[in-house]
Symmetry: C2
């Protein structure tokens, strides 16, 4: 049952609309419109384009109204990041399940390559979330309250656990502790590799110098290679003879 069935539906996305959302459905709608606007601005113009004013204007909300839904601009971007990570994890789970349904995992070392390729493709297909993961620790987390950060990290934990499950399924023979180790390595790997693989125009031009060929790797290639090493390391660490580590 809707609380206010007679209220006319407002279209927050199509035109400025400064009326306050009063029902839970309208609030959820408004919140989604703000996130959608921020995501659009981010995709089109990078983090500097996603200002509070631009987000408010695009979502059809007064700027002060944003604070009814989010703590700050950084909170909006953090919520987009969480939604994006959930998207990556859900895609990885689906891809891993499809691989598993197709038959037994290949033997060593093919299973490691398969899991690394799957994870790298899931991130590389979602540039927005990679960018936001790279921005998380250096900038976004600097303007969030302590309860906001606790909530963010508590939402990260099950997502990392699900990522570990997808990695183990794609691999086919990875112990759960090794899968968790590998999944935990993903946020810093993505954060470290994304800015290096997406340089500004001057760096991109410089890297055309044949002496610098080793620095010029697409993000998917470098993430796949790095995560391949991490997976091999996680496998090796799970071997009985490595237990003294």
């Amino acid at each position: 049952l809707r609380a206010t069935p007679s209220r006319p539906k407002l279209h927050a996305m199509s035109e400025p609309d400064f009326q306050r959302a009063r029902t839970p459905e309208r609030k959820a709608e408004r919140r989604a419109a703000i996130l959608f606007a921020a995501g659009d601005l981010l995709d089109a113009g990078g983090p500097s384009a996603a200002t509070l004013s631009a987000i408010a204007a695009k979502a059809g909300v007064v700027k002060s109204g944003l604070y009814r839904y989010f703590e700050s601009r950084e909170d909006i971007l953090i919520q987009l990041m969480l939604a994006g990570i959930e998207g990556v994890v859900t895609a990885a789970e689906a891809d891993a399940a499809a691989l598993a349904a197709r038959g037994a995992a290949p033997g060593y070392p093919g299973r490691v390559a398969r899991a690394a390729a799957l994870v790298a493709a899931c991130f590389a297909g979602r540039p927005r979330v990679c960018l936001l993961i790279a921005e998380m620790a250096p900038t976004l987390e600097r303007n969030i309250s302590v309860p906001g950060i606790v909530a963010l990290k508590l939402r990260m934990l099950p997502l990392i656990a699900r990522a570990g499950g997808a990695i183990a399924l794609a691999h086919g023979a990875l112990p759960p502790t090794a899968a968790a180790l590998a999944a935990n390595a993903l946020p810093p790997l993505v954060a470290g590799l994304w800015p290096m693989a997406n340089p500004g125009p001057a760096v991109a031009e410089a890297l055309r110098d044949p002496r610098l060929a080793g620095f010029d790797q697409p993000f998917e290639t470098s993430l796949r290679a790095a995560f391949h090493a991490v997976l091999l390391g996680a496998e090796a660490a799970a071997q009985p003879w490595a237990k003294s580590q």
Copy 2:
């Protein structure tokens, strides 16, 4: 033989001195004073404290005079980063040589742990260079010319090669290709882990929540663990049965 033995020595660090440095020695001295001033400001107040004006004032150089030595503020920080990386590599070489002199490397898995601990300690003892590596791709490289970036990357190549040599020496049984693979992984690992391990006050407070214990690792611990996995991966990738990768 000094070119101008009779010229009185000026002390660029101790007081403002707006005289132009004319001999190669005086130019080198002035350049060093600018780098020293920038490093001091960075250590005391972070990147936001190392503005061009503050660097010029501290080095006793007029602001426009900085451009005789460096392209931009970012160029100054990049040169500091290169000097810092050279410091890390030199320390790693010395530590690895000392370990090697003490006797044979331990067997597996101790040799991997030894190399990972050595590398992590060399970086963790030099917070300035870790911070600058983290700033390199997202901010510093965005305000450097194409020739400046080519020069930077060409200076990075032999440093990464020397890091690989130190890692191989500390490890005791790592093939050169595997050592190179591991050394190449260090810049993105440091860039990804440093901001996460050095959060602002709100994140630091949030991570005291016992449910979030897994996120609260010192930089040295997380770099050692991540690099340990990378080394195991590099070792495994160098095995004959992994060659199809």
